[in-house]
């Protein structure tokens, strides 16, 4: 199932450092939303705040709310573990579990959540690997180590692992920045298939990638060193890349800064 996300007045802090300033944005279901902007503007931080992953860093906290179909993931008593089951994440560097086989990697989330039943897990493993366009490449070596795959395959393995737990939302933090162009293409194709089932939010430094894969684009910028990053504007990707409202967006898109 695919759900919408409403971010309201979200401020993100690392200890005393104010990283992201009062972001309000809406992420549509069944679509790809790209977050772009220069390094350090807080887009990865915002992404990690969308499934409470930033909390694993000591001292990190947020103010404001993030509503998933109207339910605040920062509501009192809400368990971050259950938030992360609903909102999955794929990281910049492929990070398969080195002690597990390819199949065990895919079903790791379910198995660690206590799902048993070999047949059920095998089915989910196949479905998820097919969903990640990896099945044909690995079906003969499901028991080999996940580390034996190439970088692009490992990243698709991580995507299969993330979708195996059936999240509503998939967050991707620069998922292609460590990959070659062919693997990147494979992942971009995959994203356009996955958006029929998941709400996808992707952080990318690659402007062409944002233009190719996303329906909506949000541009973040850093007003100055030591100041918090902020959302400059968010709109349909076509609009942002052809006729943005803000001068800063246009400068960034066209390669002219500040």
């Amino acid at each position: 199932m695919s759900k919408r996300i409403d971010v309201k007045d979200l401020d993100i802090f690392y200890g005393n450092f104010h990283a992201v300033d009062s972001v309000t944005m809406a992420v549509q279901p069944r679509s790809v939303t790209a977050l772009i902007g220069p390094s350090g503007c807080g887009k990865s931080t915002l992404l990690r705040a969308l499934n409470r992953m930033h909390e694993v860093i000591p001292g990190a906290r947020v103010e404001g709310s993030v509503l998933l179909d109207g339910e605040d993931i920062y509501g009192s008593g809400i368990s971050p573990v259950s938030v992360r089951r609903t909102i999955g994440m794929v990281f910049q560097r492929p990070n398969p579990f080195p002690t597990m086989s390819i199949k065990d990697n895919v079903v790791a989330g379910l198995r660690l959540q206590g799902v048993k039943g070999k047949k059920e897990l095998d089915e989910i493993a196949e479905r998820s690997l097919r969903g990640a366009n990896l099945w044909d490449e690995v079906k003969d070596r499901l028991n080999r180590s996940g580390a034996s795959l190439s970088g692009g395959q490992q990243q698709r393995l991580c995507i299969a692992r993330a979708i195996a737990v059936r999240p509503d939302v998939l967050l991707m933090d620069e998922p292609c920045s460590a990959l070659d162009p062919i693997s990147t293409l494979a992942i971009e194709d995959l994203m356009s298939e996955l958006k029929d089932h998941f709400t996808i939010v992707i952080v990318t430094h690659n402007m062409q990638q944002a233009a190719r894969v996303s329906d909506q684009t949000a541009f973040f910028n850093l007003p100055g060193a030591g100041r918090p990053g902020r959302l400059i504007e968010m709109d349909d990707t076509a609009k942002i890349f052809s006729n943005p409202n803000q001068k800063a967006t246009e400068d960034y898109i066209s390669g002219r800064f500040g």
Binding site: V81, T86, G88, M89, F97, P98, T99, L112, A162
Partner: protein
């Protein structure tokens, strides 16, 4: 700005590549000789020791009853019997210590690496440092004063094991800590992002990833305490016959057997000493080999 960068640029007049000057060749040769010489020098006492122990101990450990009999009923001047009773003591005392120290040490390390923030973790780290500097005789006397003098228990193999726990603990903690820190945070994050709770991430992802290093560290700590002499001198009496009961009675161990045979001036005693020394080296060697095998096995399983 550009002037600064210009000054970083290599002057175009200087040759691009330089030849190795005779001075550098000489320095290189001297450094080679020093490093190789130091290595050989360090090797001399090692090989000498091994050679001496093997040469003098070999007849003893190949004698008929060495591995299967104790010294019960064997007269001081008579070379007969074996070190079965002492071998049992050494292994059992070390194993009991490991059973107590390993879970405790691993849990302390997990706390320090995965949860430890603030004062408690800093104090613990400091105390572990202090503990690792405690001489074995002090650990033995501490156990004597608490376990035997204060709590009123008898001297026993168990008391020895308790002292060995104090000696193993800092080694296990330090090693496990290092192995856990080697596990990349990305794996922890990958697990959290799948909706796996922290404790399960530690048990199912972090520990298995660090397992081979933790196990070989434990085995090395085990090998380390097997040769400890101070605890057996202080905390248990020597016995010439086998005693399976770790809770009471005297129990021999290889260091204790060596120590007690030192008072025997006869050739049979000398033979037993060298034999026991070689036996101890072999037992510790076996543990080291085991550590390497475990490491190799787990590494192969991974690829």
């Amino acid at each position: 700005m550009t002037a600064d960068i210009d000054s970083l640029e290599r002057p175009s007049a200087s040759p691009t590549f330089i030849t190795i000057s005779p001075g550098r060749r000489v320095k290189d040769l001297v450094a080679r000789i020093l490093v190789t010489g130091a290595f050989l020098l360090a090797l001399v006492p090692l090989l000498w020791l091994l050679w001496t122990v093997v040469k003098r101990g070999f007849p003893a450990i190949t004698s008929a009853a060495w591995w299967t009999h104790s010294l019960q009923g064997v007269l001081p001047e008579q070379f007969a019997g074996g070190v079965y009773h002492a071998l049992y003591g050494t292994i059992v005392q070390a194993l009991i210590a490991a059973v107590l120290a390993v879970p405790l040490g691993i849990m302390v390390a997990i706390h320090l690496v995965e949860y430890g923030l603030g004062r408690l973790a800093r104090v613990t780290t400091f105390l572990v440092d202090v503990l690792s500097g405690v001489p074995s005789i002090v650990a033995a006397l501490f156990v004597f004063s608490v376990w035997i003098s204060t709590l009123g228990f008898q001297q026993s193999a168990l008391a020895v094991s308790l002292a060995l726990v104090l000696l193993m603990l800092p080694v296990v903690i330090r090693n496990t800590e290092e192995m856990l820190r080697l596990v990349p945070d990305e794996l922890r994050e990958a697990s959290y992002a799948l909706g796996v709770p922290k404790w399960k991430t530690i048990v199912r992802i972090v520990l298995p990833t660090a397992l081979s290093g933790i196990i070989s560290g434990v085995l090395l700590a085990l090998a380390r305490v097997m040769g400890e002499t101070a605890p057996v001198l202080v905390l248990v009496g020597y016995s010439r016959s086998i005693n399976f009961d770790v809770f009471q009675g005297n129990m021999a161990s290889l260091p204790l057997l060596i120590y007690s045979e030192l008072t025997n001036p006869l050739p049979a005693g000398q033979q037993r000493i060298w034999g026991a020394a070689l036996t101890l080296i072999i037992v510790i060697g076996v543990v080291y080999v085991l550590a390497a095998v475990v490491n190799r096995f787990l590494a192969r399983k991974r690829s």
